[in-house]
């Protein structure tokens, strides 16, 4: 199981990766810039994402909307920003590949001449509305902000969420856009993957044709921070417009691809994947003290966090929920998963990896994966080694990872409760204000 590819680095530093798959006459174009909200500074949070919006507002030689010509050619397209990277993609019928490469290369090389105050201000409003819709006006939507700001110290770049603070977005200046573009948006900090109805030779030739004459740039220094830690248990409480109290437990955990990362990912499945998982079975199915549970390893470059989320059933308290979660964590950290749990976890992982081979483009498609491996590891061909991380995980290693990382005395415990119902949260919690 792998994604065969050819890789070549252009003179200006742009990595080009090509994967051929002729099943459907489409080609995925996928561009990663190795910049995310972790490259922001306090007071200017949310900027990497606001910048992403401006990439769709036209560039020097096509100073109109980015969507129109591509949708007219039958393309699907989008972009996204997270803490570590920003990606952009198109999936085009193979006869419109030139168009997509023209458009991507024009904004990589010539975004700034087309930038105007009007565009900037309009997209700032759009982003503020995105923030209202997906965070402020959504139940539990502010919990993530409370968690990362407690897990990471103020000067750590994971201290804020990618959407950023509303006042920082309002304070963003058009000159910041120019500086950000020059530092991060150039071939030397980017990787392009083409996947689908194209052979390697043609792909490399076209990439060179469209991107080869763009000036390279200094690869920006990678953010270096000492590993973050939480000492003791930090108990926080957030009142929100919700009906049912919800408990969030979060721990620091190994960075993406580091030892223990895959084990904790598998452990998330053991704890909360499906109805036989330990937390679902115990909290939702048997005791009926919770209405839903989730557990996940959130893998990131500078350090990950593992999170357990459980919503209390009506009339139940978060203290009861916490006790039940603690028991389950203690058990798995003491005796480890059963053979059956390991078998199921590995079958699910294998099935998940296989399903990732089904699409050439879009978020999570083969072109996106090639770029992820290339950007983080310099090796687009890591797919099968990545799967091996899961195949070689043992019950003992999962047990040890749980014991080492998911300790009750080094975590953030956030209670989100209905307004005016602070008593439903865990005892000794400090009220936090997030907006």
């Amino acid at each position: 199981m792998d994604i065969p590819f050819t890789k070549h680095t252009l003179q200006n530093g742009l990595d080009v990766v090509v994967h051929e798959d002729r099943a459907v006459p489409i080609v995925a174009v996928n561009v990663w810039y190795h910049v995310g909200s972790k490259d922001e500074v306090p007071g200017r949070t949310g900027f990497a994402h606001l910048f992403e919006h401006l990439m769709f507002e036209g560039s020097k030689h096509h100073d109109r909307g980015y969507f129109q010509p591509l949708q007219a050619a039958g393309a699907a397209l989008n972009g996204s920003t997270n803490a570590d990277r920003t990606n952009y993609w198109e999936v085009v019928p193979s006869n419109a590949l030139d168009l997509a490469l023209w458009m991507e290369s024009d904004r990589m090389g010539y975004l700034l001449p087309a930038l105007t105050d009007t565009k900037f201000e309009n997209q700032r409003d759009v982003v503020l509305n995105e923030r209202r819709q997906n965070y402020e006006n959504r139940p539990y939507g502010l919990a993530g902000m409370a968690i990362v700001s407690a897990l990471y110290p103020e000067d750590h770049p994971y201290h804020w969420m990618t959407i950023g603070a509303a006042e920082d977005i309002r304070a963003a200046h058009i000159d910041d856009v120019r500086a950000f573009f020059r530092k991060y948006y150039h071939p030397g900090n980017a990787s392009i993957a083409l996947a689908g109805d194209i052979d390697a030779e043609t792909g490399l030739r076209l990439a060179d044709e469209y991107f080869g004459d763009l000036p390279g740039g200094e690869r920006p220094p990678r953010v270096q921070v000492p590993p973050a830690a939480v000492t003791g248990e930090v108990r926080l409480l957030l009142e929100d417009r919700v009906e049912l109290p919800r408990l969030y437990l979060a721990w620091h955990s190994p960075a993406l691809f580091d030892a223990g990362d895959a084990e904790l990912d598998l452990l998330g499945d053991v704890l909360a994947g499906g109805k036989t998982s330990r937390l679902y079975r115990s909290l939702v199915y048997e005791q009926r003290i919770a209405t839903e549970v989730a557990a996940s390893q959130n893998s990131r470059e500078l350090g990950s966090f593992f999170q357990v989320v459980a919503t209390a059933a009506p009339g139940r308290t978060l203290a009861e929920v916490e006790r039940a979660v603690a028991r389950a964590l203690h058990d798995v950290a003491t005796t480890g998963p059963t053979a059956g749990e390991m078998e199921r976890g590995l079958a699910q992982a294998e099935s998940h990896f296989l399903s990732r081979l089904q699409t050439v483009g879009g978020f999570g498609g083969k072109s996106d994966q090639l770029n992820a491996y290339n950007t983080y590891l310099g090796n687009p061909g890591f797919f099968s080694q990545d799967l091996d991380r899961y195949r070689s995980a043992t019950a003992e290693a999962l047990r040890d990872a749980a014991a080492r990382w998911l300790r009750p005395d080094a975590r953030v415990a956030l209670s989100v409760v209905p307004r005016g119902a602070a008593a439903l949260g865990l005892d000794g919690s400090t009220q936090v204000a997030v907006s």
Partner: protein, 456 residues
């Protein structure tokens, strides 16, 4: 060699694409088996499509179809719910249950080597569910809790208010999950009775798409469902022809008050068309231009020009009986009335004062036709596309005629479709937002009296 940046590259000749071939057969019990070979990855997707959804919920028991489907993995034959999920986990299988207004769809994606075992398990769930009373009680509680949480979710509130405003007592007048009161009225016997009426071989199509030849896929399905025999239905489910016309809403403007809301959640629209309308293709193109893609009129106006919202879209929801046409958006509170006014103006304009242009038509048609092959990349996509044919009884050559039918439409066809099927003068508006802040501006819209909706 430098690229010519003075103009955009023109697309080359359109690539050829052969749509997946569906092989159809049926068992003596009436079950239809459709298979599609798709051999890229060793996975198979199986869909069980039953033409019984929330519209078949009995009066005062809204939510019964969804409850029944949700109970299928709670125990079957001699397996408990946990046994079922242990097996699914071991097979690396994903089970997915979806209850819409018109249909219940069970989906299973599994590794090829576990195909027979996977289908066998799903068949057992469908044919021999346990429906233990304690499990029904637990599942009902979970669904009641979800409803409770919906009280804080503006999109969920808006969807419910809009369905009630447009359809009232009509079978489409409630969401599949039902209401607190209706869920409490459902007992284990209701679930058993509904199951016997809805899950019947003659109402079901099983679609298997993936890494196997037609014979292998079909044989695995046939083995699992061959023994499914039921007496003729004593009380058959009502079909869409018996649904009748919904009564027009008494008020065109309904507000769900949400104090302090950062935004207003909007739904604007009216009852429109059934899936089998001859104007289907024209309406799909019309929608692309009006609000169905990023560069549509309404998104460009409300998002890109005004900055009122993160995104606005419209859709015709084509169902077995006439479904709604609606604009969906979440807009900043102080722009609520303006966003409604602009939306209704866009509905009006496309009907005549600013008809679809040749350029807009080209973009709208191309987005649908040139992008069409993208919908056939994975087994699951292919199976779901086939499910539309099964559910709406579309012709066998539907996929291959889609593109030429769209391309044959001219600007006048789209304008005529807008005149016939968009009705701004009777469009109803749902606002989930802070009435104190927006009430006065809503009065300026001239939509008549406002009804206040409390959704408990």
């Amino acid at each position: 060699m430098a690229v010519d940046r003075s103009r955009l590259p023109l697309p080359g000749p359109e690539p050829q694409f052969n749509f997946p071939h569906i092989e159809r057969r049926s068992l003596s019990n009436g079950l239809r088996i459709w298979t599609v070979e798709h051999r890229q990855v060793p996975l198979v997707s199986v869909l069980l499509v039953t033409a019984a959804g929330a519209a078949a919920d009995p009066e005062h028991q809204a939510g019964l179809a969804a409850m029944t489907a949700d109970m299928l993995d709670e125990g079957c034959g001699d397996r408990s719910a946990l046994d079922i999920h242990e097996t699914l986990g071991r097979l690396g299988a994903q089970l997915d249950t979806d209850v819409g207004h018109d249909a219940t769809v069970l989906g299973l994606t599994t590794l090829r080597r576990f195909l027979s075992e996977g289908i066998g398990l799903v068949a057992e769930m469908m044919l021999q569910p346990r429906f233990a009373e304690a499990d029904v009680d637990r599942v009902r509680d979970l669904r009641l809790n979800r409803l409770l949480q919906y009280r804080d979710s503006p999109p969920a509130l808006a969807d419910r208010a809009f369905a009630e405003l447009l359809y009232r007592e009509h079978p489409y007048g409630h969401l599949p999950i039902g209401t607190e009161r209706s869920l409490r009225a459902i007992g284990v016997d209701d679930v058993r009775r509904f199951h016997a009426r809805a899950f019947r071989p003659e109402l079901t199509t099983v679609i298997a798409a993936g890494d196997g030849d037609h014979e292998t896929l079909a044989a695995a399905v046939a083995r699992a469902f061959d023994g499914w025999h039921m007496a003729p239905a004593a009380e058959p489910l009502p079909g869409p022809s018996s649904f009748g016309e919904p009564f027009p809403p008494s008020n065109r403007l309904a507000v769900v008050h949400r104090p302090g809301a950062a935004q207003s959640e909007l739904r604007i629209g009216h009852v429109a068309l059934a899936r089998r309308t001859p104007d289907y293709h024209a309406c799909v193109v019309l929608n692309m231009i009006l609000g169905g893609q990023f560069v549509s009129r309404i998104n460009m106006n409300l998002r890109q020009d005004k900055g009122y919202t993160y995104g606005a879209r419209t859709a015709f929801e084509f169902r077995r009986a006439p479904g709604p046409f609606a604009m969906h958006a979440s807009v900043q509170g102080d722009a609520t009335a303006d966003a409604i006014r602009e939306t209704l103006q866009e509905f009006r304009a496309i009907r005549g004062e600013r008809p679809v242009t040749v350029e807009e038509l080209a973009v709208g048609r191309a987005a649908l036709t040139r992008g069409y092959p993208r919908n056939f990349e994975t087994s699951d996509q292919i199976a779901r596309a086939a499910a539309q044919l099964a559910l709406y009884e579309l012709p066998d050559d539907y996929f291959s005629t889609f593109v030429p039918t769209i391309l044959a439409l001219g600007p006048d066809d789209i304008t005529h479709a807008a005149e016939r099927h968009l009705h701004p003068e009777r469009a109803a508006v749902v606002v989930v937002g802070d009435r104190e802040k927006i009430g006065a501006s809503l009065a300026s819209l001239d939509l008549g009296d406002t009804s206040e909706m409390a959704l408990a």
